[in-house]
C-alpha cells in the first residue's frame, strides 16, 4: 500500500505544480537580487539574504527561509489535508477499504506519502536554491559570528570564524532537516483534520488557521505562558545553525515540540479514523 500511495503521489499533477511554485519564488528573488545587487541590510528582511550576495552557496538556506512562512505551510497543509478527505470526496476511500486495505495501513501509507512530499519539497527547494545561488552570486569567504553571518570584507570588526564549503553544507543540511521537521508538525495537524471531514479544503484551511493562531499568540507578550508549546514558536530557530557556536537550545526544543505534535496528532488521526463510519 505504501508503494501504491507513493505512485499516486508521483503521478499526481498537483504534486509537481506545488513543488514548481515553491521553487519558483526563491528563483525570482535571486534574479532580482543578482540584477540589482541591492540586498536587505544585515538584520533586516529575510534571514541570510544579506549574506548571499557575497556567497551564493548560502542561497539554499535563504530559499527555504523565503518559502517557510507561507508557501511551504500552505503546500504541506493542502497535501496532508487531502490525504484522507480527498479519497473520501473522490469516492475511492470506500473502495480502498473494501479491497481491503486495513485502516491503520492506509493511514500509515498516507503518512509516509506526506512525509515523502514534505522532504521532497524541502530538498528540491534547497537544490534549486543551490543551483541559482551558485550560478548568480559569488563565493567570497564568509565569517560566521555569534550574531550570524557577515561577509568577511564588511564584518572585520566582528570576531568570527571563516566558513569552509563543507561547513556551509553541513549547516544547510541541518537547516533542511529542521525545516522538514517543522513541516511534519503541520502535516500531522492537517492529516488529523483530514480524517475528521470529507472536505480536503476544510482540513487544509483548518490546519492553516491553527498555524496563524499560533503565530499570533507567539508574537503576543501576554500569551507568553503558552508560547513555548505552540507549533510555530521555534520555526525560525533554523537560523541558529548559522551562528558560531551553533545555538542548540532552540533547535533542540524545536525538534522536540514538532515530535510531540506529530505523535499526538497522528495518534488522534488513527483513533478517529479506525473507528469512523465511512459514509462517503
Amino acid at each position: 500500500m505504501i508503494r501504491v500511495e507513493l505512485v499516486k503521489l508521483v503521478r499526481r499533477p498537483r504534486t509537481w505544480a506545488s513543488i514548481l511554485l515553491l521553487c519558483a519564488l526563491p528563483t525570482v528573488v535571486a534574479v532580482f537580487i543578482a540584477v540589482t545587487h541591492v540586498a536587505p541590510s544585515p538584520g533586516q528582511g529575510p534571514a541570510l539574504l544579506s549574506a548571499v550576495l557575497s556567497n551564493g552557496t548560502l542561497y539554499p538556506a535563504a530559499a527555504l527561509a523565503l518559502v517557510l512562512p507561507i508557501f511551504l505551510p500552505i503546500a504541506v497543509s493542502l497535501m496532508a489535508g487531502d490525504a484522507i478527505a480527498g479519497e473520501a470526496t473522490s469516492g475511492m476511500l470506500r473502495y480502498l477499504l473494501a479491497r481491503p486495505v486495513g485502516r491503520s495501513r492506509l493511514l500509515v501509507a498516507k503518512l509516509i506519502s506526506v512525509i515523502a512530499y514534505v522532504l521532497g519539497a524541502v530538498v528540491l527547494v534547497a537544490v534549486t536554491g543551490y543551483a541559482t545561488g551558485a550560478g548568480l552570486f559569488g563565493t567570497k569567504p564568509l565569517l560566521v559570528t555569534p550574531h550570524g553571518l557577515a561577509a568577511s570584507n564588511i564584518a572585520t570588526s566582528l570576531s568570527g570564524t571563516p566558513m569552509t564549503p563543507a561547513d556551509i553544507a553541513m549547516r544547510t543540511l541541518g537547516a533542511v532537516a529542521f525545516i522538514g521537521a517543522s513541516m511534519l508538525g503541520v502535516a500531522a495537524i492537517a492529516l488529523f483534520l483530514s480524517t475528521l471531514t470529507d472536505s480536503s479544503l476544510g482540513a487544509a484551511l483548518g490546519a492553516l488557521a491553527a498555524l496563524i493562531t499560533s503565530g499570533v499568540l507567539v508574537a503576543l507578550n501576554s500569551a507568553a505562558v503558552v508560547s513555548p508549546y505552540l507549533p510555530t514558536k521555534y520555526w525560525l530557530a533554523w537560523a541558529d545553525f548559522f551562528r558560531e557556536p551553533i545555538l542548540w537550545r532552540n533547535i533542540e526544543r524545536g525538534f522536540a515540540i514538532q515530535g510531540v505534535y506529530v505523535v499526538v496528532f497522528v495518534a488522534a488521526a488513527w483513533a478517529n479514523f479506525a473507528t469512523k463510519d465511512i459514509t462517503s
Binding site: 503521478r11 475511492m92 473502495y95 477499504l97 473494501a98 479491497r99 481491503p100 486495505v101
Partner: protein
C-alpha cells in the same frame, strides 16, 4: 454467504437500519429492494465493514464482520453507491492501483487480471484516456471491472446497471448470470424492479430500515386466478366471454372465473384464434409498491414525516 442477525444502525436520532435478518445462500442471485433512503446502502456498507453496526451480528462467507474483514473481503467484489476512480488516470491505471491496494494479488499477473476484468465488462479495447473523460456508462463498467478483479466468490453490487443503456443492461445481466452459474453468489440492490425480476432468484424487501420480506422470487409472484388471452379475434372473444372479461387492451383480454385449459377449449370450440394464453401473475412492482412506503426523498407539505402510504390501485388486486 451473508447472514445478519438483528442488525441495526443508528445515526444520531435516526434508526437507519432496524433489526434486519438477512439470509443470502451460496449460489443465490439475491435482489435487495426498497425505496430511496430505506437503508439498503447502509446495510451494504455494514456488510463490507465500512460502517459499524450499532447492534446485531454479521457473517459474510461464514466469518464475523467486521472482526475478520481481512479474510473475507479479498473474496468479495463490491460496487457501492456508484463507481469511483481517479479522474486524471486511465481506466487501466485505476484498475492496476486498485488491484495493488490491499494485500496485492501478485505483480506479475496484474496485467492479465486487469485485462480479463476489462474484457468481462466490455471495455477490452479501452485506450489511455483519463477517466474524467469517460461517459457515465463507461464509468459504471469500469466500476464493475474493479469489483471483478481477483475473481470474487461474492459480488455485492449497489445499482449495478445505473447509467447503462438497454443493451448495456442486457450485457451486464448476462454477465452476472454467467458468473453466477460459474459459482459466484450475487447480491444486488436495485430500483429497476423489472431488472430484478429477470435476474434474481431470491429477493429481500426493505422499508424504513426493516426487512419486511425475504423469499424465493417464484413464491412471490402468485397466480392471480385470472387468465390473459391474446387473440386476433378479440372482439368476438369478448362477446363470447361476456361478463368474464375484467379488462381489455387491444387484442389482449384479462378473463376471470376460468383457467387457461378450459378457456382454450372454449375459444377454440367457438372457432376463435388464440395467439397467447397464460395465467396472470402479479408483478414484483405491484408487490413492492404494496409493501413499501414512499422513499425518504419525497417530502410532502405539512407533514414532518415522509408522505402517505400509497394504496395499491384497487383494480390490480383480484
Amino acid at each position: 454467504m451473508i447472514v445478519t442477525r438483528g442488525l441495526a444502525k443508528r445515526f444520531g436520532s435516526v434508526l437507519a437500519v432496524d433489526h434486519v435478518d438477512l439470509d443470502v445462500r451460496e449460489g443465490d442471485r439475491f435482489g435487495f429492494l426498497g425505496p430511496n433512503g430505506s437503508g439498503k446502502t447502509t446495510v451494504i456498507r455494514m456488510l463490507l465493514g465500512l460502517v459499524f453496526a450499532t447492534s446485531g451480528e454479521i457473517e459474510v462467507l461464514g466469518r464475523p464482520i467486521p472482526a475478520r474483514v481481512r479474510e473475507v473481503l479479498p473474496k468479495v467484489g463490491a460496487l457501492v453507491e456508484g463507481p469511483s476512480a481517479y479522474g486524471h488516470l486511465s481506466g487501466r491505471a485505476n484498475l492496476a492501483l486498485i488491484d495493488a491496494a490491499g494485500r496485492a494479488g501478485g505483480r506479475r499477473t496484474r496485467r492479465r487480471r486487469v485485462d480479463e476484468a476489462l474484457e468481462q465488462v466490455g471495455l477490452a479495447g479501452i485506450d489511455g484516456r483519463p477517466v474524467r473523460k469517460y461517459s457515465l456508462g463507461m464509468r459504471q463498467r469500469l466500476g464493475l471491472a474493479a469489483a471483478l478483479l481477483r475473481a470474487p466468490r461474492l459480488l455485492v453490487l449497489d445499482e449495478p446497471t445505473n447509467g447503462l443503456d438497454p443493451q448495456g443492461i442486457r450485457e451486464i445481466r448476462d454477465l452476472l448470470v454467467r458468473l453466477n452459474e460459474a459459482g459466484t453468489t450475487v447480491f444486488l440492490s436495485s430500483h429497476q424492479l423489472a431488472e430484478v425480476e429477470q435476474l434474481c432468484t431470491r429477493v429481500g424487501i426493505v422499508d424504513r430500515g426493516r426487512l419486511i420480506l425475504q423469499a424465493e422470487l417464484s413464491t412471490l409472484r402468485p397466480v392471480t386466478g385470472r387468465v390473459i388471452v391474446r387473440s386476433p379475434d378479440a372482439d368476438r372473444a369478448a362477446a363470447e366471454l361476456d361478463g368474464q372479461v375484467a379488462s381489455r387492451d387491444g387484442d389482449q383480454l384479462v378473463v376471470t372465473g376460468t383457467d387457461p385449459a378450459a378457456l382454450t377449449t372454449r375459444l377454440v370450440t367457438a372457432g376463435l384464434r388464440v395467439i397467447e394464453i397464460r395465467p396472470e401473475r402479479s408483478s414484483l412492482e405491484d408487490l413492492v409498491l404494496e409493501l413499501t412506503g414512499p422513499g425518504t426523498d419525497r417530502i410532502d407539505r405539512g407533514a414532518g414525516q415522509p408522505g402517505n402510504h400509497p394504496s395499491p390501485a384497487a383494480g390490480d388486486v383480484p
